[in-house]
Symmetry: C2
Subunit: 389 residues, 2 copies
């Protein structure tokens, strides 16, 4: 059709909160003046509230990978042993980081689409009592699989290992009891459930992690979190901050607080469940049925079809931007995101689009069937009286 709105529906960047985007226009302030020094502590405090932790929460100006690097360079020394859970492209990024920073990595692999079971982590911790950290993804964005963060956190608590969680797509899509589960470092990114463009990353740092930091000798300067904390305590950032993004984040955090982080998580979980059930109703196979994440649902392309055809269909027919698989999963899966500023009308439309795309490829589809599944799940959650009657 002739009008095709570009809709950014990928698992990062995610749809932007309009009021946060508009706030970026007020960037004509200097970051070493009161204008900024009044703003920044409030943002840090709101971020901490949204993280739901008593730990320090810091902001760095980088992509999520910068914060992953910070979580290595600030807390380890050359040759330290770490246990790396690798279940997808982002697990492999931990492996790369461990190698680049000359850590001694014990890698627990899972097939793409699977998660590493907590029992394997328990075993590895037992076999490697000298392990100084466990590094993993809360939600492996590349496959749509989630790890059991609670179980892994609790396993680390009784050891010297820091529990380091890449929660870049986990925050806001799954419950994360940072203090209760003993999560020492929890990493987030601005372009995910925080609803603003890429450019900022976040880390919560536990007391156990700060103690390790005192003796960790890996080289660091830009990502020196101790310096960042010292400055944050004074209401400033260590280096020049990304002012436009801090302004956007301030708005986004007000919005997230107004909803409640638990409700944001519930929203993603419901959308994820509705997507899974709609996909199955349409005869499609889920890529990570065993431990599905609520940040993104990876769906296998129908037998004999390249998933790129589906991604292209969304873009060419409707202007909707969804994600293909990454690496070796490219062409095999497509990914529907749920993290952050996504709502049910987004999903009604996306599933209606998917049905048309499948039909256009010769797959037998009953129009409206998948949409009806999503509508039913919406109604069960939002209008329980209706469903009862």
């Amino acid at each position: 059709m002739h009008i095709k709105k570009q809709r950014l529906l990928t698992p990062g960047p995610t749809p932007l909160l309009p009021r946060a985007l508009h706030a970026m226009m007020a960037s004509d302030i200097h970051h070493r003046t009161q204008d900024f020094i009044k703003l920044y502590p409030q943002v840090l405090s709101d971020l901490k509230e949204v993280y739901g932790t008593r730990n320090d929460v810091l902001i760095v100006v980088s992509s999520g990978t910068g914060a992953l690097e910070a979580s290595v360079s600030n807390f380890f020394s050359e040759g330290d042993k770490v246990i790396v859970l690798s279940a997808g492209k982002f697990g492999e990024r931990w492996e790369e980081l461990a190698k680049a920073f000359r850590l001694n990595a014990v890698t627990l692999k899972a097939e793409y689409g699977d998660a590493v079971a907590p029992a394997r982590v328990a075993e590895a911790l037992k076999a490697n009592p000298d392990a100084k950290g466990v590094l993993f993804q809360a939600s492996e964005t590349s496959t749509g699989a989630a790890h059991d963060v609670k179980a892994i956190g609790e396993l680390c608590q009784s050891t010297q290992a820091l529990c380091i969680v890449d929660a870049i797509t986990g925050l806001g899509t799954m419950p994360l009891d940072i203090d209760g589960w003993g999560l020492d470092i929890v990493i987030g990114g601005s372009q995910k459930a925080f609803m603003i463009p890429p450019g900022l990353a976040f880390l919560s740092v536990s007391e156990k992690a700060w103690q390790r930091n005192a003796t960790a000798t890996l080289p660091r300067l830009y990502f020196d979190l101790k310096k960042e904390k010292k400055m944050a305590d004074k209401g400033e950032s260590a280096w020049t901050p990304n002012v436009s993004h801090i302004l956007a984040l301030a708005e986004a955090l007000v919005y997230i607080k107004s909803i409640g982080m638990d409700k944001l998580v519930e929203n993603a979980q419901l959308l994820a469940r509705a997507t899974r059930e709609a996909a199955v109703a349409l005869g499609l196979r889920l890529f990570a049925p065993g431990s599905p994440s609520s940040s993104v649902t990876a769906i296998c392309a129908p037998e004999g079809m390249d998933s790129g055809e589906i991604v292209k269909g969304f873009r060419n027919h409707f202007g909707s931007i969804i994600a293909n698989g990454q690496g070796t999963m490219k062409g095999k899966i497509f990914r529907i995101a749920h993290l952050g500023y996504f709502d049910f009308p987004d999903l009604f439309a996306m599933v209606a689009e998917l049905e048309i795309i499948l039909a256009s490829k010769g797959i037998p589809v009953e129009f409206g069937k998948g949409v009806a599944v999503v509508q039913k799940i919406y109604a069960e959650a939002a209008l329980p009286a209706l469903v009862k009657a």
Copy 2:
């Protein structure tokens, strides 16, 4: 549910074109400098191209009502006889204007939801050979009914009457052959199919109208179109222009030209047809089945229900802003818009929302049934091979 995106889905203001909205941020230019004088003639020229006429096309800084007033004050003298077609709230605005400017109005009324048939206009012109103008709406936004602009234009051509068309919601939603049909004044508004916020109105002015202007004595200053044209010919506006909106309009016109005005019209027509068929499939009654407009579809609330309940349902359950009826139609109808920056995914979602709202009010609804009707119409238009097979 917890995340509800505010979606502005009313027949004006309509959804904004993002790139046009962003362009408004470049408003720090002076309107009597080359920065503006380079921009304005291009905008006027693109607007004329989109209007599809050889007539002059002028911009005034006002709401649409300001341009309606300009079309009276510039072309008539006190006591002039005019024929007013009144088929809704906007037809009544013509009546008010005629009264305020002391014209002698012969009013042809139609019931809300109906249009005035061209035969009645022919009769009135015959009975009133001294009529100096015929004033009417192309699309009566309050009822979703359309007038037969071609027939009425052609009737005026052989008389001294100016054919004055409020096409505020007609432009971009129905074919308007301004030169071929003899439409002397055609009025548009920025917040309609032009996809930008309210603040500007447009008028095309024929040679026949300019000739009348020379002898028209009604008082005017701000809306003096002759002065406006004189300044436009020099690349400027008569009074201080709305710079942000001119910048937005420049972007919107580039976008509309890239699609083509005929395709924009086709887009609205298809969405309107799909909305009508989906409404009927859901057991609802159309308010203007006889001469439905493609700018907005007015749908009757189910028997015994206030249409405000449906409007509230859209807003409270989903954050979607749709229109209630106006005046005495309030509570009886709700209106789904199609003009401008609307696409099929918007409609997939809107119909899915409507189904849930109806169900929540105890109306028996099969989820996905209306959506499937919309999907089918999309597929017929965009994927004809699929439908054949």
